[in-house]
Amino acid sequence: MKKWVFIVILLVLLYLVSLVVAFFAFNNNSKSFGDKIMIVPLEGAITTSGNGDLFGGSSGISSTEVVKLINDLNKDESVKGVVFEINSPGGTVVASQEIGDAIKKLNKTNYAVIREVGASGGYWIASATDKIYSSPMSITGSIGVLGSYLEFSGLFEKYGVDYEQLVSGKYKDTGTPFKDLDEDERRLLQSKINLIHEYFVKEVANNRGLTVEEVSKLATGEFYLGQEAVGLGLVDEFGDVDVAVENMKTELNLTKVDVQRHFKDIGLLDILGGRIFYAMGRGVGDSLVSYELSNNFEIRA
């Protein structure tokens, strides 16, 4: 056997052993010998599944992943506190609510630090934590619900394209981009949005210890800068992640603590780079599925 081949085989063997050990190490709940504070970055739009990207990672905030992470942190006794570093303009309603609910079930001291923006669904998540920090210039609030879709009926009319769809329920094709909304449908969708808005307001009021009336006054969809938000009771203190961590150490009376930034769990597929092909495949799959959907109405917080 040529010597180069032997060296390559040996290095591949070392890599594979490391790969297997890494796989088990990352799937072990207890990852520290001492107390630790976890920093969990939440960056991007909030959805239930996140968005696979071409580089094998997942961009945006996946509520499925975050809820799983919070459950894991709950079980990890070495974790004494969690700081959620939020940089999100919001996202889908259910995903925001799922993460908010999971945070409320977190049995560790938890803070939110709003970086550039923690608005709408991003603020919903922040409000579920024990304490909110932000920069005086951070964008926050924007408590409101948005329902939107693209409507092409005018374009179709211009080019002589007719829309025909057979539906069995009156509202089944409400929100299709191929026809204009009638008054009835508009009222129906608005009522759903109002319901979600009420729920959102109640959640924030409950989370922040404010009355529903107080939050309702702020819940116009307006965004507030951090310096305004402190006065309005939407943010507790000014500070960045370091300030939050220091304050958490003081609150928990921790002198020797390991501060760790959470990284996404890495599976064998991730390590081998297989996610690249998965993400590409999923991108194509998603396109096909969304093409099939007749209704593209989307509600976001």
Partner: protein, 153 residues
Amino acid sequence: MVEYIKLKKGLVPASLVKRFSAFLIDLIIVNLVVSLPFYNYLISLGSFSSVLKSNDMVLTILTFLIAFGLLFYFTILEWKMGQTLGKALFRLKVISSNGKELNFFQSFLSNVTVPFSIVLLVDVIYMFFKSGHQRLFEVFAGVLVVESKVVLK
């Protein structure tokens, strides 16, 4: 023993510079290969100082993995080929000082200090005072590192 090798095979002990350079290359290669699956994790730890301060279990596992990966790498390659990648690049060869073929035990014993930094330090310091630039455990194992014209084929 060095003189014996010189006389018999026309070989000379490897220079310290070449030995350190070869070791550095091997160290980098093994570290890269073993750390690759932990890449995202290491990035997440942030600065190098926070890595050093961390008492994280994964980091401890990785440290052990690198240490014993190095031992495995040096032992197997020197036993089977008489050269690691670094040594091959600098045309160095590991031989048995008794003139016989290097066996597994000799290779293992000469490299057994690699995972243990403090012992390795003592082992290496010894090189500066020993003719033939042998490490202490190379003396125990009866191993010599010599200049070689043999290159990887």
